[in-house]
Amino acid sequence: MRHLAWTNLKRHRHSTLIGAVAAGVLIALAYAVGALIDMRPLMHATGSVLEDSRLMPAVMTLAWILLLIFIVAFLIYLNTLLLARRTEELDMYRLLGMPSSRLGGVLIWEALMTGAAALVIGLVGGVLLSKLLAMALVRLMGFQTAIGIQWSLQIAGQLIGLFLLVYLIVGAVNAAFVRTLGHQRGRRAEAQHLPPRLSGWQVVLACAGMLLVGWSAIGTGNYFAWVRPLRQLTGLPGWGQLGLLTFCGILGTYLVFRQSLPAAAFLLARWRVVRRHAKWLLAANTLYQRWRRDHFALWLITLLSTLTIAVLGSAAMLLQLGQREVENSMPLPITASVSNDALVEKKAAGLITRQAKVTTKRMVGKTTLRRQGRDDTTTTLYQVMRLSDYQRIRQWQPNLPALQVAPGQAALVLSDPAFLRRGPAQRLVNAGRQITFPADGRTLAISDLTTAFPLGSAIYFDRGLVVADSDFEAMRGVNDPLAIYWLKETAAGHRVEQQLDDQTQIDYVRYDQAVRKGSKLPTMTKDTDDSFSRSGLNVRRPMARAVDTLFGFAVFITLLMGGAVLVATACILLLKQVTHAQGRAPVRRVLWQLGMPTSQLTGVAYVSTFGVYLAPLVFASLNAFVIVHFIASATAGQTGGLVLVVWAIYSLVDLAFAWLAAQLTDRYG
């Protein structure tokens, strides 16, 4: 039995090897993550930054469990795939009279041998990978900790036990499958040589698939003015519309792989120009067969790839957003309100290299601004700043724009970029609007708008205002002096920054009915229902570090899961490609015998292989772009830069697998 199992494995060495290596890579990943959880110094270091020592091990354990579930699901799917391609061979054993119990035993042995090989690859690879993963984590989170190779007997034992059990179950399922072989014989023989067909219904479904995918993308992204009324025709609330659009996308993608792509290949193969060029004709026919036969796997891979690209892209976008948020809220080393001056000067005595003071005024103002096509009147708290102070701050905070403010005018600083929309001739829609101050009845014209807060948004209660120096002096508000400090770039300086960051200092300002009317000025108070608040002491470095750590960890987890999905999906396609190439080898030989040049045969292999790999990548990229764009609109993130880099890396890895598959197709074909 063992001998026959070994012979079978050798006969199917290509698919066995790909399956074992893919499983091995995933097991290596599982081992590495498990070993990371066991790395106590690293976990302790992250806990100290995240202010919760249990957070990282808990998230890592959750990721590990998800990874293990994914690997087990992948192995079961892989087994189904491999078994489906061996039914004829197993059928022959049964026809020759081999008892199903004995054949079942052979399959169990095969599964255990493959599992053993995958475990050896996985554990050896995992020990090496654990160091690389730990280094990546340390780098992404911005730590400085020494990392060695991690050998965890406990994790290795757990993985050996789990995966031997999984492979044993897989073997047992295969053994049970052997008993059903005779019943499928007739149907299988019929289904194998079906010539290409395109019925009227298939054309209808093919068009429906493309329309559904298109509508899902356009509807989710709200790219055109006519989309919103169409979405509302369903009578569903916002989340219901989103759910329906997601369903349309999933169903549409299925129809695209089931009908649209095969129909396109079918029509392509009938195009006169293509029929006169054997390379393109054969590639179109191969693609028809592949898309038709593997539509379910390709659909599944597209969904998984969509999820992976979207999660990776969103993580990259959120990392950028987090870093931008730190830049926007705390652009300078330390900013403090008057109530925290003394604390900073006491703690950082002898470490301050430079300091500056800026006086602002707290005032209540009323204005009407246009946002998303509607006028919106708001009465809120403004911190007013002199234009000369603003110019001074620009030297330390280079991201501040130059503002045009004349006497009687004000530049408005607010956080929502929707107010900065520009109209014809690039003129700000809200420029020229009036702002009135009930306390002194003064009115100023808004000359400019920006989202960049001088000294950072964290030190503001709500909005900021930059006015001409003469207007500032004349305005009736409460003085609110702010201080900026630069400490020495030494370990002591960093330690003080950390100590200051641990002191939570919140300032509250009264904002009751009288203040809103202007009969009282907005003065400091304790926390009440009618109050505005701000952080009175802001230290940039610890905040930047916490953001880097948190988002770095999030990026690490998404990269980990994304990598696992990428390896799994690419291996499934690789395996299908190699199996297909082996099945097409006789056709390739015939073509060679008929005189088709080797370069043209290679061309067919490359065109058809890249066609198979590119279809899921293109649709997954389209879907993922829509999802990331949607998340970006909801979070005020930006879908550029790092998101494109992440997508490009994913695509390159996918195309590298496509190239490898094309090479193998060319060789095995």
Partner: protein, 258 residues
Amino acid sequence: MRIVTVDHLTKIYGHRFNRIGALNDLSFHIDAGEFVGIMGPSGAGKSTLLNIIASIDTPTTGSVWVGGIDLTQLNDAALAKYRREQVGFIFQELNLLSDLTVASNITLPLTFVPPAPSDIEARLAHVADLLDLTGLLARYPTELSLGQRQRVAAARALITQPALILADEPTGSLDSMAATELLSYLTKLNLEEDRTIMMVTHDAFTASFCNRIIFIRDGAYFAEVTRSGSRQAFFDQIIDMEATINGGGKRRETPRVD
């Protein structure tokens, strides 16, 4: 005009300690317009010979000249061009592509290297008419009978207008009626289109459609028989030679072939 010259051809398979000679110093020639059959017992080297002439296999020693070209001197690209333009091969297993229509299967060799000839449609119509396939061009091979499929394979071999048509047991998988039909078409090709045909067969009835039979045994030239009278007489000659080559001298009862 001499179209094929086989000169001291030897083919040995296997390695140093397990050598099997498939062809052994074989020499003969074929003139243009001939319909030559290659016969011999199983393992005599018939298919090996055909494969070497088709450049699908390479000789160990010796040379093969087709249309004045020494095949042993050609590189891979030139051999592919030779197979594409000089030779038409009718395989025993048909080797049709099941996902291409009959028309695409037939025109396939013309489209390997662009540009395809401008008269591709005319050529297709001509061979389809010659082999009675006009009504079947839009169908797929799986929708045809075995005999029809073999005619499609013959049409594919013909469409490049090759100097030489090679057929490896073309009737091997056909019933007697379909076999007779195909052989009639091959004879028609030989007589009306003046095509040179070289056919490997082990069946005397099939061989009786040729006008010369070369017998080989153990990879070497054994004898040849040339048709001079009726097909029945030629068939009897073939049977006699088969008996001789197989080591028996007794003449068997023969069926009528006409």
